[in-house]
Amino acid sequence: MSIDANKPADIALTDFLDQLNRLCESAQSTFAAATSNDLLEGARVEFLGAKSGQLKSVQKNLGSIPGPDRPAAGQRLNEVKSAIQSAFDHAKQRLEQVGQIQMRDPKIDPTLPGPAFRVGRLHPITQTIEELKDIMGRLGFTPAEGPEIEDEWHNFKALNIPADHPARDPLDNFYLAVASRHHHEPLLLRSQTSTVQIRVMEKIKPPIRIISLGRVYRPDTADATHYPMFHQMEGLLIDENISLADLKTVLRLFADNYLGSSVPVRIRPSFFPFTEPSVEADYFWNGRWVEFGGAGIVDPNVLAAVGYDPDRYSGFAFGLGVERLCMIRHQITDIRYLFTNDVRFLRQF
């Protein structure tokens, strides 16, 4: 056998396979050890580089494998090639994941507060009124309004309160000073919202189903339970054949709604000039009867005063103090808190 010096010497198949195996192991371990993308990229160039990568170098030796052994060598080369490529892909994927792992930064204090966003509060009286309007609205009562400064007709006379009635005592009302008036009739800050009922009845014919809500005034000296200004809600229903039973039904429905469950209601006789019979409504609440407000069948004199025929129409009226309801519900112990406007009070509701 002559030796051609220009022709590379034949390489034994076993040597070639050894070379391949060593390369494969070396590449796999280098890729696995790479801790950064830079190192991995360096390793990729070293092993898989297109020009001078080690795999390329070994591949060049394939031509020196004797012909009959060449298919086996080629097959192995392909296997190693894909194994190295796969090792590289794994390493690359691994490093990408490493890049996504979050590190806890001890300098961050998540217990610090966010900037507060201040939202104001509606006054507890407004909230109570809204609820009353809502409940009464479901029962078909529409709000009505009227002036707070009234004449004696609407505040007293039409309400069946005659001139000699104690309720008309100038000391018990906020009458306006004479100098404040341009006409002769006495005017006063209304002492009840029933005035609105008269004004509505003067304007429209039955059926009527309204509530009047608003400020009323009586010259009590302010203390924990009195204030010379407070809010009333009064309901009025006028139609044909309206009786005390209808009143009791509406009061019960109201109590069920406002107090949130089925609450026993009772009515017992009382006295108000504009209703006859007049009753006081009590609710059985927290183990005792609680006075809720006054009510009754609209006095025929009141119906006649607004031009209704008392033999055709009848109706009921009821009234309650909004402050009282509000204070009971929220356990407010002094009515003056409601009108002092300390923001620490207002922000509780």
Binding site: G120, G140, A177, S180, H182, P219, D223
Partner: protein
Amino acid sequence: MLVSRLWLEEYVRPNVSPNDWIERLTMSGLNFDGATDIGADQAINLEVTSNRPDCLGHLGVAREISALLQVPLQIPNPQPAADGPAIQKDFQVVIDAPHLCSRFTARLVRGVKIAASPRWLVDRLVTVGVGSVNNIVDITNYVMLECGQPLHAFDFRKLQGAKIIVREPRPEETLLAIDHKSYRLEPGMCVIADANRAVGLGGVMGGADTEVTPSTVDVLIEAAQFNPMSIRHAARKLNLHSLASYRFERTIDNQQIDWASRRCCQLILDLAGGQLAAGCIDVGQKPALIQPIRLRHRQTDRVLGIQVPPKQSAEILTVLGFSIQSSSADEVTVIAPSWRRDVTREIDLVEEIGRINGYEHVPDNRPVPMVASHKRPADRVVDRLRHFLTSVGLDEAMTTSVVPAPWSESFSPWTDAEPLVSQQPMLGVLEKSSQNIGQVNHLRRSLIPSLLEAFRINEYRGNSDVHLFELATVYLSQPTGLPNEPTKLAIVSQRDFFELKGVIDSLLAHLNPKVAATITTFDHPLFDMNFSGQLDVAGQRLGYIGSVSAQGKRTFGFRQSATVAELDMQAILGLARATVRHQDVSPFPSIQRDFNFVVEERVRWRALESSVRRAGGELLESVSFKELFRDEKKDGPDRKRLLLTVILRSSELTLTGAQADAICERIVRQCQSDHQANLVA
């Protein structure tokens, strides 16, 4: 009214336990308000409504129990032996003031022995909270508490001139009353006088000069009827409220006067001895005839909502003391007893039947016909307004409608008319620190002074973040008719002028994005001259805004900066959209461009903005103010820079940069020509 259980049981024997009959009384109109054990007795507190003076005596309450329980009522029938010389021989009573005293009766008992009352009488009085004085005084009190008719005993020998004159006071007349205080009498008060002087204030209090003392021998017993209004006026004016005045104010049963007088004399004879003079002086009006009342039985059902059989109705009225004049299947005619002056009409009879039958029988499960109630448009706007205001951090306040004069005078932008003033001041509504400001009797013409006081209170208490609003009425005097009562929205806030203006601008935009307020000069001592103004919307006055001036802060006594605003709700309701109409939004992207103009100080943002809008045309979606600053080194004196941003968008296509550039050039040119504005590159 305090009643003694043992005392009641002298007239009526309840056939149920005290708890039960007390419950029945509550449910028929005499509300139980607590009881106290006093020895073997109980003092029971019953609330008696002003229409039921008949229940201001034990007999009246016993009558109710008798009717409710259908048990017999025992009423004493006093027939004292009157065997002394006739009273008319020695004495005379003249009513000179029939408008104050409609009837006056007098009996005379000679030779009584003044002593302490017997044990039983003291016990009765003590149980109901009345102190014992001597047998004569105690008997008058006892009979009053028994039947409700007040009585007075005079020391007969101290009455001068053998007469009593019931009259108006003389000028400057005074009375030394039995409390040994001197009272100045005024016109309209009912004086009981002898020939020379006042010896009592009728129905209110007796005089010291003629009171019964241990040395009294002859007593004159007065049982009378006085004008309720006059009694109320006198008791109130002199602050002399007595058990007697309480009863006269509510009117007494004038058919019972003689019974009470006889009862009193009988007890005097029994307990203090003496001899009753024959006859009785009885002057004034005799009781008027009581008119019959007709009850149509169907009315009970119509009013009460329950059917009460006619027979039962008649029975109830009978046990209550009504006498039946006539009756048929459909109706009954009755005459009310003299003690029930409150029952004059058919409806009153229905109430009597209802309350004795028991309101617990009235059903509470009637089908109530459905009616659609609606929230009024104005209410919806107010709801939105309130929610907006709270969402921007304002708390809702509520202040009194009546304020002291200095507050009323401090701010009144809505009217030049004089404030309305109340005759009575509101008492107890001012904080201690404000109590020297004056009487609270001016109906307010603006809410701002009240809110400034609330601001002061919060500052004083060291509260931070004080931002308040109130929605309430102000009271504006009118030349004729009722005053005008427009509703206002007022705000007080620690925010500065521009922040609060931003709140108002946002509020308007929230209610209607198409409107904006303009501001014009409004000079007022309460406001800082630079940071204040009148706000208008579409030529209509909306309201006022201003930072509180140093003088304003002094007036209201606080130190921190505050900005206030007051807006007219009518204007707000007018501009708010009731229903929002949808408008298509352009699907094409917008282009944003910023401008930095240098202008002279006199150029107002409002004017510059309007030039930008004019030049921008319909592709200009919005223009917004970003910043204002000054750089004298670069721009020279009297110059400022206004930074603004415009958003351009077409509803038909995506704008190109070239299109946007063209618009921007127009804007720059317009601002240059209108305001000599120079764009900073």
